[in-house]
Point group: C2
Chain length 283, copies 2
């Protein structure tokens, strides 16, 4: 496995592993020893949508595992319509790679999958980073509203609109982020299809509609959790990360300035540094 150290976000080859009749596409790079850090991706995102500043930054100290879940990017199959099934698929993929214990970084839809993964397999996950997300039972209206305004926008404009705040400084950082996404010039993922959009949309809205007014699910997530969000997230309101922080038994919260849903990319160096510190803390 030490060959992971010779690769970066830009050079790690896309590998494939069969799981339950599906060919899972994944890339792994970074430090060979220690627990792997599994990245769980956002709505319609593929491996190519992770910020190299984040992945390469964390690869200095951790083994990074990016993958496309079922039906997304270069992974075969049809994208399921529930977070529960996406979580089962992610679990089976992690098991197929032979990992018995992992750290997990989930962003947006990936944040939800990370929560579900811990609930379903409490001993698998050591520490979790929950970026740009919400507890169940929150935010369906906001998600439906922001995603109702995507028609006619280019992929680039969608990223700027959904991930960055409506300020000149944030939009400028958005342009820089989009530039960084071009740093990998070979072996790209297939962009998400309409089927992915529709299935993940339904999964997210259904997640947001699961009632849990007492936050009983969060009480069961006893792992150390780092909750991260922008100062003004228009997709999953910032107040929902405050709820995550308040109801998770062992969480710390970081809210970043001048930022929206993509705050972890806008403040990529800070985010990578905080994640590194969080993961290296003693248990």
């Amino acid at each position: 496995m030490s060959t992971t150290e010779t690769y970066t976000h830009e050079t790690a080859p896309t590998q494939y592993i069969p799981v339950n009749g599906v060919q899972f596409a994944y890339r792994t790079f970074g430090k060979a020893d220690g627990l792997p850090l599994i990245f769980l991706q956002h709505f319609t995102g593929t491996m190519d949508n992770w910020d190299p500043l984040v992945t390469n930054g964390l690869a200095e100290t951790h083994r990074i595992v990016l993958f496309d879940n079922v039906g997304v990017g270069n992974t075969s199959g049809e994208t399921p319509t529930t977070v529960a099934q996406m979580t089962r698929d992610a679990y089976d993929f992690i098991q197929a790679l032979g990992f018995e214990r992992v750290d997990v970084l989930g962003f947006s839809l990936g944040n939800f999958i990370a929560q579900q993964l811990i609930l379903d397999h409490p001993t698998l996950v050591r520490r979790v980073i929950l970026a740009g997300g919400a507890p169940v039972g929150q935010g369906a209206d906001e998600f439906k509203f922001v995603t109702s305004n995507l028609g006619g926008k280019s992929p680039k404009d969608i990223l700027l609109y959904l991930f960055f705040a409506a300020t000149p400084s944030s939009q400028q950082q958005g342009e820089a982020f989009i530039q960084r996404l071009q740093s990998r010039v070979v072996d790209h993922d297939i962009p998400s299809t309409v089927q992915v959009f529709q299935a993940q949309y339904r999964a997210i809205v259904d997640w947001c509609n699961i009632p849990d007014p007492e936050f009983t699910r969060l009480a069961q997530i006893t792992q150390p959790a780092l909750v991260v969000q922008g100062s003004n997230d228009t997709m999953f309101p910032t107040s929902q990360s405050v709820l995550l922080f308040q109801h998770l038994p062992n969480a710390q919260l970081s809210l970043y300035p001048d930022s929206s849903h993509g705050s972890l990319f806008q403040h990529a160096r800070l985010f990578a540094e905080q994640v590194r510190y969080f993961l290296q803390a003693e248990d």
Copy 2:
């Protein structure tokens, strides 16, 4: 000034400098170059009340300046009864040391003084850490309530009660903090007198009663700010740091788990690491 590098929290001698007829007591240690980091202390605290894990941790990368404000600890004079006057005194002390530009770390009452210092002298402060505080116009009732329960408690029990959460794990961290405060065995400060308690009490309550419902003061603090608080601060409720974060133009927020007013000491290593990263960011 390079001799500061030979000293630590434990060994830095208490020095004195005359300012406006007052002998200011201060200690300085840590890295010689770069902007000094001025520490502004909490209600009734002296230089001896800073956590060596924080001060020594930050001394690796910054020049640390601890001091007793007028009438506190080993500084002569009578403690004033307003944050405004405490701020003037702190400014005069900083000027007397010859610093034209500084970073500031304010905790609790020191948080208020840090805010006022930036309002009064906007070009003096480069970056500010605002721990365990609140905007003006908030929290007088909570402060009066928690401080009404101090009678009959030992100094140690007061620290455990005010600074740490009512959980076994937080109280255990409180004991460790109190142990760390003993690491400096020479040249102690004189503990605060009743006059300090009463004057600072009045200053805090009056600060909490200054009306500013539109948070116009915070809008003027454009410096990068790191806002830090515990998950359940009983002295200045955690929601007040969320208000600081929301209304400061350029703030990031870190809320720490399982902690109360002294979260920066309970999570001293994390806090020092976050402050170091925050101060080293590019401007």
